[in-house]
Amino acid sequence: MSTIDNKLKAISNINTLQQRDQWVNHLHPLVKLLLTFIYIISVVSISKYNLSKMLVFAIYPFFCFNLADLNFRDAIYRMRLILPLVMVVGIFNPIFDRDIMLYIGGNVMANGEHVGGLAISAGVISMLTLMLKGVYAVLATYILIATTSIEEICYAMRKLHVPQILVLVILLINRYIYILGEEASRIMTAYKLRAPSQKGIHYKAWGPLVGQWLIRSMDRAETVYESMQLRGFNGEYRYVADQKTRATDVIYFMVWLAVFAVFRFTNVVELLGGLFV
């Protein structure tokens, strides 16, 4: 099986996740979309030196992974292309930002100087914070797409009055990814079958093949769009029947909102620390 086919399979596996009968999957899509959004905003807006605040926000992905019965290793594996990208953002901070922020272990002398222990610079802290921001955002998005179908997400976006054209573009891109993939897989297979002894594709064939691929994909994309139109699609996406908001939706939303607010605007670690002193 070609690698393209594998990629398509991966997409269809995500679709399988979306259709599972988990409690989270049945939550109102608007709730899930909003929470994801608010979560990412909260996390991203945390000051880059506030590592402890950052750490407590792990509760949301942790909780959701368990609730939705998602596999953490799967998630990391699926996100393996994006994760390194979001993690390199702060990689140079330790070099530029060398002020010491805290020490682990060691003793403080009478004059305030530290002796022994591990000194941690502001750069290291901010690097870790930035990395976590990226990782959290990716995980939250993963939770959303693993429990909510693209149709539901688009439906929720329309509820939020995101312009129709934008929602449509997102929806169609999702469809066209398949088409591009399928078309590429077909062309490669056809090529390989007629050039069996060759490893990969001869560089001279790349031009025409890529040309073919784009033209055929565009053609198919157009026909698929026609097929949608023929079945009553006129730009307003009504795929998901209107969903009623249930009490659980509201409660779930309010609880997380409260948790995010507390975590974001108070220093929970210190508060908790205070309790035990």
């Binding site: 679709n15 399988t16 259709q19 149709e151 698929v224 097929s227 139109q229 079945r231 006129n234 795929y239």
Partner: protein, 250 residues
């Protein structure tokens, strides 16, 4: 219109069409079709069968001549209204299916027409039952076989309960049993049907009238069992007798 009262579900007069800058594909086509009729459009590869069907659903618009569907001229403003009455099965099923699962795809039309959930469910059940693919409801479209895709495509238009059904090569990719199922299904359906095909046996089983196209023109238009028995006519236009007549001949 002859009597003035008579209304045709489909009225085609002097219809011609050419793809931009190309030779005309269809020339001077005249066809009237009434409620309940089923018509086979036959002809060799590239003769313009698919083009004709696409004109009928308004996928191609800049034609010459008259084209009226459900009593509305086929112009851009009427396209949406006309399409509500028509179900079109593409020649290539890959173009027809775009949702994740078969069930969702079959539900797409009814939901877009704003039907209530109960009615949507009823129609999906019914369409899947008629095409004998209830077991594929939750299957991913991406994982279907060629014939399963064809049946699913047909289900997607049955759920819209159209007045006119247009099918482009419906029997391609079906095994003998499913082919038989489809024939029975089509014969049980009330709507007007237009079936483009070069599977003449299939046409013979499902259509009472046949239109023979050749080089963009209508060569013959008449009862199916007359035209499909006319060996000379068929052979001089690149076709062969349906297999069952072919063996009678020998």
């Amino acid at each position: 219109m002859k009597t003035g009262i008579e209304k045709h579900l489909l009225h085609i007069e002097n219809l011609s069409y050419h793809y931009e800058n190309d030779e005309p594909v269809l020339k001077n086509i005249n066809i009237d079709v009434n409620q309940g009729e089923s018509i086979g459009v036959i002809g060799t590869n590239g003769v313009g069968k698919s083009t004709l069907l696409k004109l009928l659903v308004g996928l191609l618009l800049d034609y010459d001549g008259t084209l009226e569907v459900v009593n509305h001229p086929m112009i851009r403003e009427n396209v949406n209204h006309i399409r509500e009455h028509i179900g079109y099965v593409f020649q290539d099923s890959d173009n027809q299916l775009f949702m994740t699962t078969v069930g969702e795809d079959v539900a797409f039309g009814p939901i877009n027409y704003g039907l209530p959930q109960d009615e949507v469910n009823r129609r999906v059940d019914e369409a899947l039952r008629l095409t004998h693919i209830e077991h594929l409801r939750d299957k991913h479209v991406y994982k279907l076989s060629g014939g399963e895709k064809k049946l699913a495509s047909i289900a997607t238009i049955l759920s819209m309960e159209p007045d006119i059904i247009l099918m482009d090569e419906p029997s391609v990719a079906l095994d003998p049993q499913n082919r038989r199922h489809l024939i029975n299904l089509l014969n049980d359906l009330a709507p007007m049907k237009i079936i483009a095909s070069h599977d003449l046996d299939f046409v013979l089983d499902t259509c009472d009238r046949v239109v023979l196209l050749y080089e963009g023109e209508i060569i013959a238009d008449g009862p199916a069992d007359e035209i499909l028995r006319d060996k000379e006519l068929l052979e001089s236009h690149g076709l062969e007798l349906p297999i069952r007549y072919y063996y009678q001949e020998i």
